[in-house]
Amino acid sequence: MNLNFVMPDLYPASAEIFLLLMALAVLLVDLFVGKGRRWLIYLLTQLTLAGAFGITLLTLDGQAVTTFSNMFVDDLFADFLKLVLYPAVAVMLVYSREYLAARNLDKSEFYLLVLFATLGMMVMISASHFLTIYLGLELLALSLYALVAIDRDSARATEAAMKFFVLGAMASGLLLYGISMVYGAVGSLEIAEVGQRIATGSGNKTVLVFGLVFVVAGLAFKLGVVPFHMWIPDVYHGAPTAVTLFIGSAPKLAAFAITMRVLVTGLAELAEHWQVMLMILAALSIALGNLAAIAQTNIKRMLAYSAISHMGFMLLGVLSGIVGGDPRFALNAYSSAMFYVIAYVLMSLGTFGMVLLLSRAGFEAENIDDFKGLNKRSPWFAAMMMILMFSMAGVPFFVGFFAKFAVLQAVVAAKMIWLAVFAVLFSLIGAFYYLRVVKVMYFDAPTDTAPIEAPRDMRILLSVNGLAVAFLGLLPEGVLEYSIFASYAFLVGH
């Protein structure tokens, strides 16, 4: 037997390798760190993210490089998404720190799992092979299952984790099954190769479309869009808020990335089929997400349904890239969807950050009523929350408006005006429940008068987060261009 092992080029994956090594280092350091020195682990985690950010930035170049036998790609699209991913995770850690410490959850496991989940997302973002996607996805998902259940004594969290695990495993199964169909039809798992083979006419269309259904179902589960959304409200509600914040922010970036890689790079030839599927998913998500959110009294559940509708909106951008086989508006549409995701992550971080801000030892600020009279307790943070809520509702001058605007114009460009009308009508309904949060903050008297205590770094960062939402609403051009660059690199790459 002839073993012919060629050392793969590790350079494109240096950020991932660094993160993995550091995660292992954290694991080791943990053995020697007592309970009183947990800040060391925290610091190490933040340094890891900063280091990964630096490495990605330093290794940035316009060329798309693949490695590990074309299983892993390092292109600008991946780099740009990762450059948003690290800060999102870092901000999440800052917001969560006090909350975790107050509940004795700030064990090194938390940070370790977050690092592994981050690694999973990075792998997903850089995947150029169906198996790599699956690997990244599972690394992320398994870390998240454990994170949801990290508060072992909470029955609700454990139940949420079980639900999440069972449904997640099923979704992974669906995805794998779909992938196997695609492999059966074209004989390759390399995404770009699959795209080319389908374009040259190889592969049975029926088998491919059959596989596509399962692939889309798997992706839809990960994105959390209707009718594959059932886990979202329970997990958002059941998990400790710090974990909800994590699930509700950075993984959306990774889910967006794999959606783009699989559907646009791999299965572009089947666009007419997946477009219809995405259209149904998007329309249902926008409708159900917004309608169900109205009925919630728990803010985490409300934000869960809001997340569903936001992901539906984002899919509108993805599906309007190819119009009847004509990819003329692809760049416009995909960059809009990417802008939407980035804006959403920014808003989601801030909103859950506010929920964390109001929580303290022995008290979970989970209900919308817990925001009552916030304007009296802290006008500044009430203003921040107001900015975030209006932004989520898509009211100018906040970044949420331009996110909606970008996606809507992509939909209109694709000549689907009725879909745009449908989307705006439901975002009107959405405005209601965001307004309700503003209402309890500004129009109601406080029931809870405890002073708002939070570490200074969290206060500052939360303020920066809120102001960024306002600032990007005034001057969104920078992030719009950023999305354009990334999407352009993505389109050139395939």
């Binding site: 304007n375 006008p379 209006f390 009211v395 100018p396 001058f397 408006f401 331009f402 605007f405 970008a406 809507l408 114009q409 209109v412 460009a413 005006i417 745009a420 009308v421 705006v424 009508l425 975002s427 009107l428 405005a431 209601f432 307004l435 503003v438 209402k439 500004y442 129009f443 969104p476 051009e477 719009l480 261009e481 354009i484």
Partner: protein
């Protein structure tokens, strides 16, 4: 003309000033907040004066223009400019703001800084709406102005304020969201431009024009408000604090009508002509039917709110009979209504501050205890009824003349407002002011103080001045109106 970006200053000075007022913080610094707000409001008015003085009345072109790139990704520009139609509204808005600040001076005791800041920010946003020449810029200001108003109604309003605030916000948002889709559609139709002036030259097939017209109608009809989408207004007015009602009536209602002139008529002229019957019918319904509705109101603010709807019916009627008398009359009516309805709401505010009731039945014989107030109230009531020599008469008369020129029976129906308006206003006035002192509360009421006297006096002068000599107003708008009508007369199919 100076090189200063006057329009930008008119927009951003009140907004930045408002944020500064907000920074004064808690109610311990209420005095400072009031003073600062007044300074900003007056400064905001002063910077708009050169807009009128330096205005060239001979041209219909946009003046004081500013053009900067804003979001190149979507070819959106920060493009400002005013013509004879919009300049007056910027002046009106900036003129009303100090009065509103003054009106809330003593009455508002809680969250003073936030109250003042909300009004200042709103004033800036309104100026932005009236001076935007880029559709997205317009839309952004248009929708952002909902936020301060939502807070004003909800935080300082009456008992049912939460309901009113939500209704106001969602109702108006519904219309503007559909308009957003229309704007994006036009962006693609015009080859990636959001420039309003480009859009005015755009050729659009009739079906598309009709859809566009309907989308704009949704946005602007709610804002005007036209019958049958007017129901948010009485609620909002009744619950809003006095200052909120004044701004709503004097400025916010004008946004819708202004939108018709800037968007519907020039962009979809064929659809406008095609659907003019509908607009005229809706307008006349507002004038006549809402006039009757006003007659039976027991709440003074509601009555004035319905009277506003009825008067705004006149405005939309004036637009859609497509002659210069009608359009100019409608514009005069808009300005005049800004003064009169603002003053009427302030009068009710004066009563409310003393009695904490808006019910007509709770009053009677106010003239005995508040003679100075009664005189002002009388004057504004007469103006509201369209008495000659007040500004209320000028606009109505011009629109009726225009309407008769268009069709006698339309003019006839419109003219009934002179009777109806007099009936509901004067009857209310009689019940509140005349007669014997109705109850001990009325007997205890004190006449208006110097602050209230100044506010009402200034408005009375405006109403009288405009009624006696409307030329300075019509002169400014004439060239632009002529140009607009010429534009509308040409088919763009």
């Amino acid at each position: 003309m100076t090189g200063l970006p006057l329009l930008s200053i008119a927009i951003w000075l009140p907004i930045v000033g408002g944020l500064l007022v907000l920074a004064t913080g808690s109610d311990r610094n209420a005095g400072l907040a009031r003073l600062l707000a007044m300074v900003v409001a007056v400064a905001g008015f002063l910077v708009t004066v050169p807009l009128y003085i330096g205005f060239d009345t001979t041209t219909s072109a946009m003046q004081f223009t500013e053009l900067r790139q804003w979001i190149p990704r979507f070819n959106i520009h920060y493009q400002l400019g005013v013509d004879g139609i919009s300049v007056l509204f910027i002046l009106l808005n900036s003129f009303i703001t100090p009065l509103v600040v003054l009106a809330g001076w003593k009455v508002i005791e809680e969250k003073v800084a936030q109250y003042m800041a909300a009004f200042l920010v709103m004033s800036g946003l309104m100026n932005g709406i009236f001076s935007s020449l880029d559709a997205v810029l317009f839309y952004v200001f248009f929708e952002a102005s909902l936020i301060p108003m939502y807070i004003i109604i909800g935080a300082w309003g009456g008992p049912n304020r939460v309901y009113a605030a939500f209704k106001f916000f969602l109702y108006t948002l519904l219309g503007s969201l559909l308009m957003l889709v229309a704007l994006i559609y036009l962006f693609y139709q015009s080859g990636f431009s959001f420039n309003l002036l480009d859009w005015h030259e755009l050729r659009i097939p009739l079906t598309a024009q009709i859809y566009l017209f309907l989308a704009f109608l949704m946005a602007f009809a709610v804002k005007v408000p036209m019958w049958p989408v007017h129901t948010w207004l009485p609620d909002a007015h009744v619950e809003a604090p006095t200052g909120g009602s004044v701004v709503l009536a004097a400025i916010m209602l004008k946004l819708g009508a202004y939108g018709f002139l800037r968007f519907s008529l020039p962009i979809a002229p064929d659809a406008s002509r095609e659907l003019a019957w509908l607009m005229i019918a809706l307008s006349l319904t507002a004038v006549v039917y809402i006039g009757f509705v006003a007659l039976v109101q027991a709440d003074m603010k509601k009555l004035i709110a319905y009277s506003s709807i009825s008067h705004m019916g006149f405005v939309t009627l004036g637009f859609f009979i497509f002659n210069s008398l009608g359009v100019e009359g409608a514009l005069v009516q808009m300005i005049s209504h800004g003064f009169i309805s603002g003053a009427m709401f302030l009068c009710v505010g004066v009563l409310y501050d003393r009695m904490h009731s808006r019910q007509i039945a709770d009053y009677g014989g106010v003239v005995n205890t508040m003679p100075k107030f009664a005189a002002f109230f009388m004057f504004f009531a007469m103006a509201n009824a369209g008495l000659p020599a007040t500004s209320g008469f000028v606009g109505e008369f011009m629109v009726i003349l225009g309407a008769v020129q268009f069709n006698f029976w339309v003019g006839f129906a419109a003219a009934t407002t002179l009777i109806l308006g007099a009936a509901y206003t004067l009857w209310m006035f009689k019940r509140v002011v005349f007669g014997a002192v109705a109850n001990p509360h009325v007997a205890e009421m004190k006449d208006i103080n110097a602050r209230e006297f100044v506010i009402l006096g200034v408005l009375a002068l405006c109403v009288l001045g405009m009624g006696l000599y409307p030329f300075p107003f019509t002169e400014v708008m004439h060239a632009s109106v002529e140009n607009l009508l010429k534009h509308v007369a040409v088919s763009k199919l």
